[in-house]
Symmetry: C2
Subunit: 242 residues, 2 copies
């Protein structure tokens, strides 16, 4: 398995992701929110890049079945049913619904991977499920696409990518992999014994805390607490069954 | 001093660099080559982004005074006087010359910073000179712009940025800085006692070694061996005097 890591979506072209297996990692919060929504019964999640795309998708569907969710710069969007906090996506809210999700970084990263062979959603909350699936599939080329924040590298996404790499057990060949893979793995090994504290000290965590989303940090770092696999395919994200 | 770090030029817009102090770091090899050329007597270096820009600049100058230098994917460009190995830029070759430099990553990073207030060239070879200058100038906003490699994060540029950050002594406030700054500093602290070996084990070093540029790695990691300050201003890079 050849592996590469992208620290922010702008640094990769759609063409570089073509025909590859891509794991999109946006720990705070799109990946975590998508997985939580699907685990809690949402039928599917439609990632969109902006307000007008969200309106366009919404207008093509039965208003009774959809929920508009998302944020801009961490804050809810006026007129939307939900923000981007995973804790809002409770079973009684999302059961059977189609979520149209519009976020600053995460949904853009997912859309960028639209030419990939397979796009999976990655976060701490589904880490072991993802590792097991990737080991089974054993893709020839795997790209970990971190969402980052406004095109900057994010500590929490790199840590999650590093944990995934560590669990994939590449056989200690850390000097033969692309630098990004090696850096993510080193970050994880350095901070493995205090993931929650380190994520809570990241730049993005500080922003979320200032907006009142402290509880999201704990939810997003609870490893394997939402053990679902989710795949983006033909415009929508669904749970993988079986 | 507020500091941010960009891991690859594509991740930042020209506008985000406007009116800021920017240090462009391309350890392997553009920054190191530019500093070496200027230290060895080159009058100035004109960074260009592609072949046609190089030809355009060359045709506007006295052919006796110019040298065309650069590489594509690490290899020399046919018809150019020089490649991108700093060891080619010896005094007897570059004395009094204007170098037109065209490289895969580094010169593009420098050009991206054209709206900045001040653009400095950073590498291991001029680290202390740069630290001293930055301490003296004490810019309000400093951005470390790593060139990376084809828009991927590079270990050697992050290590050099980390060393610069370490020497700037931010007073231990590592949890209040952007994640990129923190990650670079952690990398440096982890590998500080074996910089040469770690740079030699990076993805880019492997590529250079396979092309026969092993000696460049040693030159590029000799801290403070080329103690010059160089500034990009109005299209050209010159030594800062005084």
């Amino acid at each position: 398995m050849w592996i590469d890591l992208i620290v922010t979506p702008l640094a990769v072209s759609e063409d570089e992701l073509r025909d590859r297996t891509v794991v999109v990692i946006d720990v705070l919060r799109a990946s975590t929110t998508i997985l939580t929504a699907l685990a809690n019964g949402a039928r599917e999640v439609v990632p969109v890049s902006d307000m007008s795309a969200a309106s366009r998708v919404a207008s093509s569907l039965d208003p009774q079945t959809i929920l508009l969710g998302g944020e801009r710069n961490g804050s809810p969007i006026e007129g939307y049913h939900l923000g981007n906090s995973p804790l809002e996506y409770q079973p009684e809210v999302v059961q059977g619904k189609i979520i149209i999700l519009n976020t600053t970084n995460g949904t853009g990263a997912i859309l960028r991977a639209r030419l990939a062979e397979e796009v999976l959603i990655g976060a701490f909350v589904n880490l072991s499920a993802l590792v097991e699936y990737l080991r089974h599939r054993n893709p020839k080329e795997l790209i970990l696409l971190c969402a980052g924040w406004r095109n900057r590298i994010s500590l929490e996404d790199m840590l999650c990518a590093g944990m995934l790499l560590d669990r994939l057990e590449l056989g200690g060949r850390w000097e033969e992999v692309p630098d990004g893979v090696r850096i993510a793995h080193l970050l994880y090994r350095t901070y493995a014994d205090r993931l929650q504290q380190v994520v809570a000290s990241s730049s993005h965590a500080a922003r979320l805390r200032s907006l009142g989303y402290e509880a999201d940090l704990e939810h997003a770092t609870r490893v394997d607490s939402v053990p679902v696999l989710a795949r983006y395919h033909e415009g929508v994200i669904r749970k993988i069954h079986g």
